[in-house]
């Protein structure tokens, strides 16, 4: 009996560690944005901005996150120019997503500039993460 309880506790402990490892890097990045004065973060604001269209002056075409990631984040996207397949962004189908701070920072920088024409603010990035981590 005592052994069982111990086992249960050990398993519960492992579960906690797992959950933390799974969600850790998003929260780490969000708290970094908070330390820059941003927050609280809103999934709704993130989603709105995700779907919004921005005019690219150079090409005269509208761009949004969906241009490459597609409208359903549980399926693959396709790079607008190269046709390269972009793996699904939703964590529910792709557990590798939102697991590396360095990776997230790199793509925020590149993709905000490509899509919106400028870097995103800490608030905007935190909102994006709030939206994406719920998928």
């Amino acid at each position: 009996m005592k052994k069982n309880v111990l086992m249960m506790m050990a398993m519960a402990g492992m579960l906690v560690i797992n959950v933390q490892a799974y969600a850790g890097d998003v929260e780490l990045l969000q708290s970094e944005y908070q330390s820059q004065g941003a927050g609280p973060f809103s999934a709704a604001a993130g989603e709105k901005m995700w779907r919004q269209q921005y005019l690219d002056k150079k090409s005269g075409k509208q761009r949004s996150c969906q241009t490459c990631h597609g409208s359903d984040l549980t399926t693959s996207g396709k790079h607008a120019r190269t046709g390269k397949v972009i793996d699904p962004l939703a964590r529910s189908v792709n557990s590798e997503r939102l697991t590396k701070v360095k990776f997230m920072k790199k793509w925020f920088k590149r993709n905000c500039k490509w899509t919106i024409g400028r870097e995103c603010s800490a608030q905007e990035k935190g909102d994006f993460l709030a939206y994406l981590k719920g998928l």
């Binding site: 190269t82 046709g83 500039k113």
Partner: protein, 171 residues
Amino acid sequence: MKTKLLNSIVMVGLLLTGSAVVNAAPGVAPVDNKIYAEECGTCHFAYPPGLLPERSWKKVMSGLEDHFGENAELDEADRAKLEAYLTTNAGDHSHYKRSKKLMRSIKSGATPLRISKIPYFVKEHREVPKGAIKHDKIRSISNCDACHTTAAKGRFGERGINIPGYGKWED
């Protein structure tokens, strides 16, 4: 004694021939850098460094913010590491046959940014059937491995060519 000496001479001769063959390796040196394969190969075919001269790689790596119309910025540590890898292994430092041919065809004052604009490249692709590139599996002349099935090994010979929508390339 004499035969031993003769043997040695023959052996040395064989060794020399062997190394000459290594020096004239076909194709280009394949990519052997993990960061390069990851950072650059995520978006496009990881072009072996031996396809461009050192001066071209320097120019490419100093303009990643507008990388052929895309933003490909890296943090400075990675950027510097990759520039070092690319310039050290650039075509003008390579002994590989295909690199030498590419480099020889570039005018001395030119710094090409696109491999596909190098005269030797243009010449070698002049027989590609018209419209073939438009195929959905190719889309651009820059997608080497769409047709060159052994491109990742640095081999671009005719035997490895299979053009989607057209088929194997035969003389």
